[in-house]
């Protein structure tokens, strides 16, 4: 029996006693259910047999297939932030700091967060809708009946793929974003490629890059896990598929900001 179903069936009668209890009850049941889902993930991820082929397939689907969208977004973000920052820096006579400023903001914050949000929209909703649709059409039951552990095959592989692919995508988005910024710098003036990148790398420190990459693992994990959770426990019916996809994006995006806030706090402890 799925732990979440057990929790719901035990508590539902009690929480229906009054509205206030119902609202808080549902919230805490959801939190407990997600915690139980997360624990099950860690239990299953370590237990053989390992689904390497499915992991590779999912990595290809969530990583490679997301790259064009992430690259376009990264380029535009780099270009736009450069164009927008120029007038302010010009007021202070600090246009020469433009590459360094854009690079630091792109690599420390904008690149990872924007990549994660795009990833949540594309991959998180996709996973949620796919698993919900599989549940509605009894494909998950069919897997279970045929002797396959659907949690391991569907959930573990997708969460791992999202966790491993998002950092790679974030690095690529940063790189493409810097190219966008180079174009932005050259729209009003001329800066050579070598001078631009020497400015960028002089400004960047290991302490800028490392925490930014580390937090993308957590972003990827949260997006994959929430997408799977919403899809795996979707209500039956076509309405359930839409709701699963929608709530996966909303909840995953919110989690990205919460994780980012925590990561910034932790990073600032070491930097100060």
């Amino acid at each position: 029996m799925e732990p979440r179903i057990r929790i719901r069936s035990i508590t539902r009668e009690k929480i229906e006693e009054n509205f206030l209890a119902s609202v808080f009850g549902k919230f805490f049941i959801e939190v407990a259910s997600l915690a139980s889902f997360t624990l099950r993930f860690f239990k299953e991820v370590l237990k053989p047999p390992y689904e390497f082929n499915e992991l590779l397939k999912q990595s290809f689907l969530v990583g490679y297939k997301s790259f064009p969208l992430i690259a376009i977004t990264g380029f535009i973000i780099g270009l736009v932030s450069t164009i927008q920052s120029r007038p302010t820096l010009a007021n202070f006579g600090a246009v020469s700091l433009l590459p360094a400023m854009v690079a630091v903001s792109l690599i420390r914050e904008i690149g990872p967060v924007i990549t994660a949000l795009i990833f949540a929209g594309k991959v998180g909703s996709g996973i949620g809708a796919e698993l919900a649709s599989m549940k509605v059409t009894e494909q998950i039951d069919a897997m279970q009946v045929s002797g396959t552990n659907p949690f391991k095959f569907l959930v573990v592989t997708r969460v791992l793929a999202a966790t491993l692919m998002l950092p790679l995508l974030a690095v690529l988005a940063d790189a493409v974003g810097l190219l966008g910024s180079l174009v932005g710098v050259n729209l009003k003036g001329h800066v050579s490629v070598s001078f631009y990148f020497s400015q960028v790398f002089q400004a960047l420190r290991f302490g800028d890059l490392f925490p930014a990459i580390v937090k993308t693992f957590f972003f990827g994990f949260a997006i994959g896990l929430i997408g799977c959770y919403k899809g795996y426990y979707a209500n039956t019916g076509t309405e359930g598929v839409g709701k699963a996809a929608n709530s996966a994006v909303v909840f995953a995006s919110l989690m990205v900001f919460i994780i980012d806030m925590i990561a910034v706090q932790i990073t600032s402890l070491y930097q100060n």
């Binding site: 539902r12 059409t137 009894e138 494909q139 039951d141 069919a142 045929s146």
Partner: protein
């Protein structure tokens, strides 16, 4: 499972005629306040086709989902090949499931895979080191058995309702299960295709000597396939007999199914 106990009333235990493969005694299942199965006592004998009839919402699908462990029963015992499934570990349950085929009402085909991949999936999962040519010959044989050899490279979305049912059957049969569970195998199909599916069910029984539970509202399917029929009413087995016995029952309610 909230409470589970051995049956205390042996007199109500189901009748056994041959080698019993599935046995349910005092089985109960509720979903919150909805008591779906109230007291089910049933056996499935080796090699027989058991048809279960009953109104919609009487828990027929829940009953067969209990057999494969997709739904846990609340009370009573359910044994498969003499083993109580509530006492099996997850690994043992997985092994038991390999002996059971389940044809879902919707077919439950993997939409992201082709027909060939749908059949490869259970083979790869359960016969890990199967050579490629052996796998291909098994797939070819399974598709030929259900008349779908030409559809091997299509996707499930390109198939008609009848073809999807037949593909679901081929995917289930490719592992040669000892027990087959059919959840409304002819629902949504025209009479000719329904008859084809019913004939396939009979062929499966004769070819592989499977024991089957068939849930249906299609009386023609029941007539063609049933060795024994059980009618479920209010979560309990209300009547049991051959198709003709129940058709000529003195109980007007039971007769109404056959009119």
């Amino acid at each position: 499972m909230t409470e589970k106990a051995a049956p205390d009333n042996i007199e109500q235990a189901p009748v056994q005629n041959g080698t019993v493969v599935v046995k349910m005694v005092h089985l109960r299942k509720s979903f919150e306040n909805n008591h779906v199965l109230r007291d089910i006592n049933l056996v499935l004998n080796k090699g027989e086709n058991l048809v279960i009839l009953g109104k919609s919402g009487t828990g027929k699908s829940v009953l067969i989902k209990c057999i494969v462990g997709l739904v846990d029963c609340d009370y009573g015992s359910l044994s498969i090949f003499g083993e109580d499934i509530s006492e099996l570990s997850e690994k043992e349950l997985m092994e038991t499931r390999k002996k059971i085929g389940f044809l879902f009402q919707s077919g439950a085909l993997y939409d992201s895979m082709s027909v060939r991949e749908n059949l490869q999936f259970p083979l790869r999962r359960q016969l890990h080191s199967i050579p490629k040519d052996k796998m291909n010959s098994l797939i070819k044989e399974a598709l030929e058995n259900v008349g779908l050899a030409k559809a091997i490279d299509k996707t499930p979305l390109e198939l008609s309702g009848g073809m999807r049912k037949r593909l679901g059957l081929a995917r289930t049969l490719i592992l040669k299960p000892e027990i087959m569970l059919y959840d409304e195998p002819t629902t949504g199909l025209d009479p000719i295709t329904s008859k084809e599916i019913s004939k396939l069910i009979l062929e499966v029984q004769q070819t592989y000597n499977t024991s089957s539970i068939i849930i249906t509202h299609d009386m023609e399917c029941a007539r063609l396939t049933a060795d024994r029929v059980v009618v479920i009413k209010d979560g309990m087995c209300d009547a049991e007999g051959t198709f003709d016995e129940l058709k000529n029952s003195t109980d007007a309610w039971i007769r109404s199914y056959f009119e």
